[in-house]
Amino acid sequence: MYHYDDFDRAFLAERNRQFRAQVARRIDGSLTEEEFRPLRLMNGLYLQLHAYMLRVAIPYGTLNPDQLRKLADIAERWDKGYGHFTTRQNIQFNWPRLADVPDMLDALAEVGLHAIQTSGNTIRNVTSDHFAGAAADEIADPRPWAELIRQWSTDHPEFQFLPRKFKIAVTGSPRDRTVTRAHDIGLRMVRQQGRQGFEVIVGGGLGRTPMIGKVVRDFLPVEDLLPYLEAIVSTYNLLGRRDNKYKARIKITVHEHGLDRVRELVEARFAEIGPLFDKAATAAQLGRIAAMFRRPPLQARPAAPYHAARTADAVFRAWSDTNLHPHRAADHAIVTISLKAHGATPGDATSDQMRLVADLAEAHGHGEIRVSHEQNLVLPHVALADLPAVHAALRAAGLATANAGLISDIIACPGMDYCALATARSIPVAQDIALRFEELRLEHDIGPLKIKISGCINACGHHHVGHIGILGLDRAGVENYQITLGGDGTETATLGERTGPGFAHDQIVPAIERILQTYLKLRNDRSETFLQAYRRLGLAPFRAALYQEDRADAA
């Protein structure tokens, strides 16, 4: 993975020194809140419902053990002993004191982490495939490109005051695990006549006006990536609306001006600035970065201990059925560490859990850890032979829930338990659904299912692309939850359809239960997933199941 050089270290130290001085000036009264607010936001510091919140970027979701241990230490020393992993591969600390934040940032800098551009109208943390560099289905590791984008976008002088925030995701696999089509720019690595390039998708986004991104360039040679990105963001910077916050994202720019017009402007700008980029210097830097992302040397290992454990231990077998993904080396696996124990807060890990994962990565995983946008942790390179030991250690720490990709593997934003923007709570809904289906023992029977919950229309919980999406709203002073069905965040991205009126907080779990009983009743057989059944059947039978009881009550 990427290691900071002297330039990176000096930049971060200077930036942290500046922010320390800004905090001091806010506390001594030299800066008003109006003056301080944009400064703190550029450094990832929010003021939430009960406290400040510090959002730390985990670039493209890659961590090493020292970094994860440092996050654990920070959580313990300056927070309440846990951190919350988010849907954008960040970690949030929910309880810092303002005066402590400069020390937290210095601690992060010791391991090459920062909170720069995790807020504000800037290019945000670049996200990527959490299985990058390991998945059997990958064309190439996208992370060197993601790191190049991080370096290009960090403190980019032209892009510090965009019309609105700007999110970029990169994947190197045709299996889209990064929701590229719901990003301001999505990059999908493709091959054309033996050449590597990117399909460039623009104008995707969820939130108030959900849009699936559109292909602005179907093949961009890799060496043109930075000037082309700069052309898009620069075009948006001039064309994007600044009169209305809700119409300021690039998805609205593309919608209002049309893809063809935007493409024309982008290509013109690209033709103008492309020649100004020093391609040789970029290639040299990319080469330097790529060398740091070399695949770890995997030793061939017999898989016998793995198969023996599967035969002998039903708990291990269940976990290995759900929480492993094929590695490019057949005697290895990608391990998903579920942060979704039934009844737990999705995405939360205690300091002790973080330290354990760091130790396991060191002992069995070539020192690599990933954070997924689905709010789980990943060990991308584990020998099958080591899985019984890894599982036993995870189990002892409450980290071996066998539910990756199942109904209790729910994405949920912090909602009104923490977030100042939220209109309803998300976390308790996720907890209640997980506990209910655990009680019904239906989780494995239901099979692959993605439930995603947002506590407001901004859709941090990606509800529009959940197979079942739940949106929490405030309806006349009461929490109310709308349901969408049939959403999909992968390469076949689709926005879910709203079922109808929402449900009260105490009615949402029974409503989800009615949807899934309908699925179990109507599916062709176990091999037909919920999403496949929904695509075959449409909304009608689910809507009937959802609202029939209400009608019966009213009659």
Binding site: I27, E33, H50, R97, L98, T345, D474
Partner: protein, 99 residues
């Protein structure tokens, strides 16, 4: 958040800790909603809010929140204000743990 001429309190977040505070009749910031001063007319509520906003060295994000006066002190009208008074529902953290 506050409409009409309902009973209201001045609330904000403390500058350093970031936690929820309310304004008392003595002009102090309290962590206990029951000690907050209740304003029942627009004029005094607006004046108190303006004065509170000027104390930017102490608090951030002042606003008026509707309350229901009870013999035990003001109770929040809206669930958001109830959560602010209590803390998150997933952990015993925040105000509920400090009481």
């Amino acid at each position: 958040m506050a409409r009409g001429s309902a009973a209201r309190v001045v609330t904000a977040n403390a500058l350093i800790e970031g936690d929820v505070v309310w304004l008392t009749a003595e002009g102090r910031w309290t962590r206990d909603l029951r000690q907050a001063q209740v304003f029942s007319d627009d004029e005094s509520a607006s004046a108190a809010l303006a004065a509170a906003e000027a104390r930017s060295g102490e608090v951030v994000g002042c606003y008026l929140a509707n309350v229901r006066p009870t013999p035990n002190g003001p109770e929040p009208e809206h669930f958001r204000e109830d959560f602010r008074r209590r803390g998150p529902s997933n952990y015993f953290h925040g105000k509920q743990a400090e009481a």
